[in-house]
């Protein structure tokens, strides 16, 4: 499945604060560092396996843990309509 981040969504960090601002709805979403990391990677078009590897390295944790975080976060982004999930043709 291909994930595309909504156009007009801008992400930023300020010290320990991470935010995503939706220009369409003028809503500011607060993120944690993991969410910011994943969203940045999604914006760059990085596939799930690559982001998982990077998360494991950065946070010094396990694939199982970050895999769950990734999937939960993507579900949340989808629920808030901040991403578009595109089914890839076989």
């Amino acid at each position: 499945m291909k994930i595309k981040v909504k156009k007009g969504l801008i992400i930023n960090k300020m010290g320990d604060s991470f935010v995503a601002y939706d220009n369409d709805t003028s809503i500011l979403h607060e993120l944690n560092e993991t969410g910011y990391f994943i969203l940045q990677d999604l914006q760059k078009g990085r596939p799930r396996p690559e982001t998982i590897r990077r998360l494991v390295k950065y946070f010094k944790t396990t694939q199982k843990e970050v895999g769950k975080d990734y999937d939960d976060f993507v579900k949340l982004l989808d629920k808030k309509a901040l991403i578009i999930l595109q089914k890839q043709r076989k």
């Binding site: 007009g8 801008i10 930023n12 960090k13 300020m14 010290g15 604060s17 935010v19 601002y21 220009n23 003028s26 500011l28 607060e30």
Partner: protein
């Protein structure tokens, strides 16, 4: 013959150079009036030079009617006042635009140029004799101009009423008085490098309190950005968050007692 060649004036504003080029026109009346307007408003305070230099943006004035673009939407016709080419850093405008529309165009151009290292902020501000700028933020009707006006009567210099130019240069935040016409005031080139930033709350007793939760400021200050359209550019958000992170902000409980307000604002 006067008006038979393009005349260019360079507007030096907030560290930017904006070239204003006046193409020849058969309707010399509008052309001459516009050039006189530019000279009166910006020339007298030293914003304008005629010496050619590299410009960050160009605004070209033309008289051709075909440049006035009409847009139809159901039964209404809209005449757009400018042909914008932001990637090309130029705008073409007809001589027939009003002076207030030109002022609006200047704000748009500044908002665009500031995406790199600053932003336009809806703020009133006053400068004290030590060169420290007190900046007042609030939604429309929230008391910014009122508080600035009270302090202006107490010896402060009125720096901005509606819009403040904020830029980062050499690692420091620099504040410029707006090069735009505000209410009855013509622009004057003023700059400050030290500031106290206040979010106004109308109250019965004046006081101030430092804001510790800077996250809460992001939402508030996004609403205080002057934007050319409703979208916040990435650059502007980057700059705004850097600004929030690098400065102290205070809640200012404000009353109409000017001497007590001065005491609270002047506190170290």
């Amino acid at each position: 013959m006067p008006g038979s060649t393009t005349e260019t004036y360079y507007l030096n504003s907030c560290g930017f150079t904006i070239a204003l080029s006046f193409a020849p026109s058969e309707t010399a009346f509008y052309r001459e009036k516009f050039i006189a307007f530019i000279r009166e408003v910006w020339g007298k305070e030293g914003f304008i030079t005629r010496k050619a230099k590299k410009a960050d943006f160009q605004i070209i004035f033309r008289s051709s009617l075909e440049r006035i673009i009409a847009k139809e939407k159901r039964t209404k016709h809209f005449f757009l006042y400018a042909e914008r080419d932001f990637p090309g850093r130029r705008m073409v405008v007809p001589y027939s635009i009003g002076f207030s529309v030109f002022d609006l165009i200047l704000r748009e151009v500044h908002a665009f140029l500031l995406e790199r290292d600053g932003f336009l902020l809806h703020a009133a501000s006053v400068l004290d004799k030590k060169g420290i700028l007190s900046i007042f933020l609030a939604p429309t009707g929230g008391g910014k101009s009122t508080i600035a006006g009270l302090l202006a009567k107490r010896g402060y210099f009125y720096f901005s009423d509606d819009v403040l130019v904020v830029r980062k240069a050499g690692g420091k935040w620099v504040f410029y008085s707006p090069p735009f016409i505000e209410k009855n005031w013509l622009p004057k080139p003023k700059m400050a490098t030290k500031a106290k930033i206040f979010l106004i709350i109308k109250a019965k007793k004046q006081s101030r309190e430092i804001i510790k939760d800077k996250n809460s400021l992001i939402k508030k200050l996004i609403k205080q950005l002057w934007l050319a359209n409703r979208n916040v550019p990435q650059g502007s958000l980057n700059n705004l968050m850097s600004f929030i992170g690098g400065n102290n902000f205070y809640y200012l409980k404000a009353t109409l007692n000017s001497s007590k307000m001065k005491e609270v604002v002047d506190e170290n």
